[in-house]
């Protein structure tokens, strides 16, 4: 049986030759991400900002202008109305209301909206919860990264650990930058996506690192540059295949999984691309800069 081989046997791409280019590229991307974040901030969803979100579904096209008009005399403050998936679905976002118990102010809004279609879902997040969620989200990301740092340090040497975590931060920063630039809604599920990206990118990096470590033991005299380059090439087929199967699953989810998880899936797709790039180009070359211990066997024999 003839099998498909996306990466030919004995492929030898000089990944590290591109290291100056990719380093500059990554630094620029991270820098731009910071700038975007500072300038545009993130388009926080109600999970983090507090407020109300209502989805309305109708059997025909909904006129957004009319919806806005009918809600305008309720004095709701910042009001966002947009189509959601199709033009017969709309999503209405209302900023957190001043009233102490923000559930009481919901009645008039839903009453107005009911004349445009069926209310599919209502989400109200109070300010107390939203600030907690921000805190929890940040804690989760820091906890995940620290635990990975620790695990890799436990299983490898500190250079690997540092390299992997720098690559992770690179992935998270750029993903956030993309979310900021395109003003894609940043909600709780995006935090979940970021953590999954962290896991995925780490997974990718670990496979390459594992091979580097193995080759370090096997070829004691080989130049580190050569050795890392070989290792990336040896794992390239796996990197490409796994990224592709993951992307197949994610695209299926993105296109067919419904509007509600589109943002989440989009974040994951972006993350898979960045994670694959970073473990191939960034995490591995960081080892070159950080240097690694070469006398594994001596240690083992003693």
């Amino acid at each position: 049986m003839k099998t498909l081989k996306l990466v030919k046997k004995n492929t030898k791409i000089e990944f590290l030759k591109l290291r100056k280019l990719t380093t500059i590229f990554s630094i620029i991307l991270c820098f731009l991400s910071f700038i975007f974040f500072l300038v545009f901030n993130l388009n926080f969803g109600i999970d983090f900002k507090g407020g109300t979100l209502i989805e309305v579904k109708s059997s025909s096209k909904i006129n957004i202008g009319k919806v806005r008009e009918s809600l305008s005399n309720l004095d709701l403050g910042d009001l966002q109305i947009q189509n959601f998936g199709s033009d017969s679905n709309i999503l209405v976002r209302v900023e957190a209301q001043k009233a102490q118990n923000n559930s009481t102010s919901l009645g008039p809004i839903t009453n107005e909206l009911k004349s445009f279609g069926v209310i599919q879902r209502v989400e109200v997040v109070g300010p107390k919860i939203s600030s907690e969620l921000i805190q929890k989200g940040i804690t989760a990301i820091i906890a995940a990264v620290s635990l990975m740092l620790f695990y890799i340090w436990l299983r490898f040497e500190w250079q690997f650990s540092l390299g992997a975590v720098l690559a992770l931060m690179h992935d998270v920063i750029i993903t956030i930058g993309i979310f900021s630039f395109f003003q894609i809604e940043f909600n709780l599920s995006i935090i979940a996506a970021l953590l999954t990206i962290i896991g995925y990118s780490m997974n990718d990096t670990v496979v390459v690192y594992d091979r580097i470590r193995e080759n370090l033991r096997k070829y004691k005299k080989l130049d580190l540059y050569e050795l890392i380059n070989n290792s990336i090439n040896q794992t390239l087929s796996r990197t490409v295949l796994t990224s592709l199967t993951t992307l197949i699953a994610l695209f299926s989810l993105y296109l067919l999984g419904g509007e509600v998880i589109k943002g989440f899936t989009l974040a994951m797709i972006i993350g898979v691309f960045i994670g694959t790039y970073s473990s191939t180009f960034i995490a591995s070359q960081l080892l070159l800069y950080l240097g690694v211990k070469r006398d594994w066997s001596k240690n083992n024999n003693n």
Binding site: N101, Q120, G199, T246, G258
Partner: protein
């Protein structure tokens, strides 16, 4: 690595079959003996319903406690004729100044005695003091004890849960879930409820009911203009109409044993009929007998709902509230009165309602995405690895069955992000097999025999697979412990998927491939 003893084979087969049987009820709605009936729990985002996160207002409990402490101090000092000034409520207790220096020791003993008498709680052995007392130059400072307050909060949350349960039961919805969350929060999930407004109306009231006389000695207007008598206070009704009401409570809502919405026999307007217990009935009879012709007020949560004139003594212990209600208002009030008062107000922190239509759509699109994603990956893997790809695909399908089986066994909740977790697992689970097969390829092209190549392919990839999956597992466990709601559902399926994928991809495919190798003894590998 390729040798499996028969007992090991049987064990593996048993695990696979177990996963299969656990997953079965989700696909095949039939009841047979030996086949479990538990199916996956669908989250509210998939089945539709309302989710409310409530917080018990602990501050108001503290304030109530401080207030009652002040009342206690006032009455005991008065009883012993000790003169004091500046008795007031503080944020975390109370303060009073004793005027006569010679009475300070007496006052101290009196206030101290309040502490002992009110904290006789055999369950709270850690610190039974309700408050601590400091005295400086005749000024007593009473500070409520943190532990004792926490105990009160804990009790208040438990009571609130019970009362919420009773109020919801009155709505006639099915299987609501009410859980304590953290110190002072309550998580309420009501499947199938797509308009929570009535639920929120019911939860938005503490429903403290009491009956008091209206002070008719002066008119309200006069009282506002001159001075409100110290025995009375001004309370308004829902339309803003003010009443001068005595502070003394004739009977309170705790004495109610039943309340039912009904229609008045003559006017046919909605009313609430109520009945007191024996003691309450006696109080009410006594109060009404002595005040025929005078108005009394029925007060709910500091709002007058009606102020009828007593026409004749009410001796039977039952009565009727007529407050110009709508049918629903009368029903709600009856539910509230039957369920009892909340120990403290509830604040709605977060609210999510998903209509049944959206949930159904999400299930459909989730299923479709899973199937399409799965088929895409299956085809891709067969194209890439041929015969080995078929084995990997078998492992992948088994993996999904096991995830569903474990979710059913644990009665974990499947949410929409949870489905996303399964789809993501489909994409990532083949990773282990990809790592192994790439290794086998390497070893085979380096000149090893098929058997040796497979053998070392598996053994050399083990470390990598372990490291790679543990790092992903770390991320998803963090998500599980710090995430809430739907995100937690994602973490659950992802975590389970990681564990089962290592089992199916590393162990099950190895067994199949070893059986194949031993049986057909191939001279070359097409991989």
């Amino acid at each position: 690595m390729l040798y499996f003893s028969s007992s090991k084979k049987i064990l593996l087969l048993a695990i696979c079959l177990l996963g299969f049987f656990l997953a079965l009820p989700n696909f095949w709605n039939i009841s047979l003996p030996f086949i479990p009936k538990q199916t996956i729990n669908l989250g509210l985002d998939l089945r539709g319903g309302s989710y409310l996160l409530l917080e018990v207002d602990t501050n108001s409990i503290k304030k109530d406690k401080a207030q009652s402490l002040v009342e206690d101090i006032r009455s005991s000092l008065r009883k012993d004729k000790i003169k004091y000034i500046g008795l007031r409520v503080l944020p975390d207790g109370a303060e009073v100044k004793i005027q006569n220096n010679s009475k300070i020791t007496d006052a101290k003993n009196i206030i101290e005695s309040l502490n002992n008498s009110t904290s006789a709680n055999i369950f709270n052995s850690r610190n039974s003091d309700e408050f601590s007392l400091d005295e400086e130059e005749g000024i007593f400072k009473v500070t409520l004890n943190e532990n004792s307050l926490n105990e009160k909060y804990r009790l208040a949350v438990s009571q609130s849960i019970e009362i919420i349960r009773r109020r919801i039961d009155g709505l006639g919805v099915t299987e609501p879930s009410i859980q304590r969350q953290g110190n002072n929060r309550i998580l309420l999930e009501v499947p199938g409820l797509d308009d929570p407004q009535r639920l929120k109306d019911l939860l938005g009231q503490t429903a403290k009911l009491n009956f008091r006389m209206v002070d008719t000695s002066i008119s309200v207007g006069e009282a506002v203009r001159t001075r409100v008598p110290s025995r009375a206070e001004i309370i308004s009704d829902s339309e803003g109409f003010e009443y001068l009401v005595m502070k003394k409570v004739l009977v309170s809502g705790e004495r109610l044993v039943d309340a039912q919405a009904s229609f008045d026999a003559t006017t046919n307007s909605p009313v609430v009929n109520f009945r007191f217990d024996t003691v309450g009935g006696k109080y009410f009879a006594k109060a009404t007998s002595g005040n025929v012709g005078k108005p009394f007020a029925i007060i709910l949560d500091n709002e007058v709902i009606s102020a009828p004139v007593i026409r004749s003594p009410i001796l039977g212990g039952s009565g009727q509230i007529e407050g110009g209600f709508s049918v629903e208002e009368a029903n709600n009030l009856a539910i509230l009165l039957r369920a009892g008062a909340l120990p403290a107000p509830l604040e709605i922190l977060e609210e999510k309602t998903i209509g049944p239509g959206l949930g159904e759509d999400s299930i459909q699109s989730g299923k479709l995405a899973t199937i399409v994603g799965l088929i895409g990956v299956l085809i891709f893997i067969i194209l890439s690895y041929g015969r080995f790809g078929i084995y990997a695909n078998f492992a992948l399908i088994l993996n999904i069955i096991m995830i569903i089986g474990i979710l059913s066994l644990l009665q974990a909740t499947l949410t929409l992000p949870g489905i996303a977790g399964i789809v993501l697992t489909i994409g990532m689970a083949v990773d282990s097999n990809v790592i192994i097969f790439e290794r086998i390829r390497d070893e085979y092209f380096n000149g090893k025999s098929p058997f040796a190549a497979v053998e070392s392919g598996y053994s050399k990839s083990f470390g990598t697979i372990l490291d790679a999956n543990i790092t992903t597992l770390i991320a998803s466990l963090v998500l599980f412990f710090l995430g809430t709601g739907p995100v937690k559902g994602f973490a659950v399926t992802l975590s389970i998927g990681i564990v089962t994928s290592v089992f199916t991809a590393f162990i099950v495919t190895r067994l199949i491939i070893s059986i194949w190798l031993l049986k057909s003894k191939p001279n070359e590998l097409s991989i």
